[in-house]
């Protein structure tokens, strides 16, 4: 099958949508499909072979933050050229409701079109006005995919339709086969946290509160912190006796993140809300760490209600500490959880999810043999 993927945001900048598109493209190629990705890019020489540049991205204010996108008459002409040259069987557009090449491609194309919606937060007032401008384009979409239940709700509320949910995938083997770093290990056990440290809903302050209790009872425990934010300030705010026990790795590559999760005995997800899908839990499960997560609905679902990890009361530092201490003291239980979680993580492997996406393609193409025009 010849698939055309459109990514609205610049591939040079890391981001959820960009990573999703790259991972999906690679998974589709691995399944034997021909894939071309159209995306804005600064540096055309540095792109994977399957990517076609739509031109330079410019930063514009959109939906309360800054998006790096490209548009304009020259870019629109490039989009049309790419569509014609590609002779795609199906066109798959990501985040089509953005002022970018995504909506330009939708505008220019006819035929079997699939769209994936990533965002779960939109400013509703602007969105309902945008619907008027967008409707003629959005009507062309046959298959709608949402990456989470939250994104699905947003989509149904503002645009309507019956989207299917296909979550973000994980390359499970990258985590399962990562090698642990003995230097990062704590002598009394290792906890890992992944997420921005200065975003309160990721729960880092809550974890620190619990960690103080944990180290009182169980000495020599180390906390590995993976994620960006103001590390100097975070380190200064720690009590002096904890400073040597908390190890900030900062923003690291996916490989190093995998190593950190592989090194950890327990992966803690203390998020207090706003998490639409617990992709990061799947990474922990795949790496073989015992997962300890707050009891948010999305986390509960990924952990099979507690079969593949331990849930604690969301927002409660004392409950977090109690469960962490119990897990630290019980190696057999940690092993049993990891054994159950490994196969469960496979459900979110890109090879499985790309198969689901292909099923959507096949349904959308149906009997239409003319391809994308």
């Amino acid at each position: 099958m010849r698939v055309g993927l459109v990514c609205p945001y610049s591939l040079d900048v890391p981001g959820g949508v960009q990573n999703h598109v790259k991972d999906l493209a690679e998974a589709l190629i691995a399944l034997g499909h021909e894939v071309s990705v159209l995306a804005p890019s600064e540096d055309e020489g540095d792109l994977p072979a399957y990517v076609v540049s739509a031109g330079r991205a410019i930063p514009v204010p959109y939906n309360g933050s800054v998006a790096r996108v490209s548009f304009g008459p020259v870019v629109a002409a490039r989009v049309r050229r790419w569509l014609r040259a590609g002779e795609f069987d199906v066109l798959h557009i990501h985040e089509p409701a953005t002022p970018s090449i995504a909506v330009l491609a939708l505008w220019a194309a006819e035929g079997p079109i699939v769209a994936t919606f990533h965002t779960s937060q939109v400013r509703s007032r602007a969105m309902s006005a945008s619907a008027t401008v967008l409707r003629p384009s959005l009507e062309k979409i046959t298959g709608r995919i949402a990456v989470s239940e939250y994104a699905r709700d947003t989509l149904v509320q503002h645009i309507g339709g019956e989207p299917v949910v296909i979550p973000n995938g994980v390359y499970v083997d990258r985590y399962a086969q990562a090698s642990p770093r003995p230097g990062w290990r704590g002598e009394g056990g290792t906890l890992a946290f992944v997420g921005r440290i200065d975003e309160p809903r990721k729960g880092f302050p809550l974890l620190l509160e619990a960690f103080a209790t944990i180290t009182e009872v169980h000495s020599g425990v180390r906390l590995l912190v993976v994620g960006g934010g103001d590390i100097d300030r975070a380190r200064k705010s720690l009590p002096a006796d904890l400073r040597s026990q908390v190890f900030f790795l900062g923003r690291v590559s996916d490989e190093q993140k995998a190593c950190a999760l592989k090194t950890a005995d327990i992966y803690v997800a203390p998020n207090t809300g706003g998490e639409s899908f617990g992709i990061v839990l799947v990474e922990g499960m795949a790496a073989g760490a015992a997962v300890l997560a707050s009891s948010l609905p999305a986390f509960r679902q990924v952990l099979g209600g507690g079969r593949y990890g331990v849930l604690f009361e969301a927002g409660s530092a004392s409950d977090l500490a109690t469960h962490a201490l119990a897990l630290l003291a019980d190696e057999a239980r940690r092993k049993a959880l990891a054994r159950a979680a490994g196969p469960a993580a496979r459900r979110y492997d890109w090879s499985v999810l790309a198969g689901q996406v292909v099923e959507v393609y096949e349904t959308v193409i149906g009997t239409e043999r003319s391809g994308v025009r």
Binding site: V60, F71, G72, A76, A97, P99, R125, A129, S130, P136
Partner: protein, 180 residues
Amino acid sequence: MMTWVYLVTAIAVLLVLGLWLSWTANRLDRMHHRIDVARASLETQLLHRSGTTLELATSGALDPARSLLLLDCAHYARAAAADAFEPAESDLSEALRAVFADAEEVVTLKQDAGVGELLVELAGDCRKVVLSRRFHNDVVVSARALRSRRRVRWLRLTGRAAVIGTVDLDDAPPEGLAAD
């Protein structure tokens, strides 16, 4: 006899002093009034600019990507709270510059029967925003200078008039539009 002279002089001095102070208070009052007028004018121009932007965005003359961006920023600017309008209006200026970056295309668009007029109107709106903001800030700066005088502060001639600030936002118009 001498006492009389002193008394009359004292009364005269007090009278002059009183007149001078009341004149200062009057000046201040007029200045505050001019600030109110200038502020209202600036707000009207900003509303007019976002209104024209909305009209352009929904006219169908631009591709959906640019229409969407303009709609979003114009809505955001109009809906912004009183203490958040500066970043929102700056975002709109930035979006307008990004959308009308291609000067040659703007020339072609201006000849279009449907949107040509709207574009000319928008260009005017952008220029008027620049002007009205400059005038507003000019009055604010002179009012602040007067308010910082000792006699004004010590005798509280300002009364209960609120502290006034300049309006700081990015109002640089798109180059393609500005060239008329």
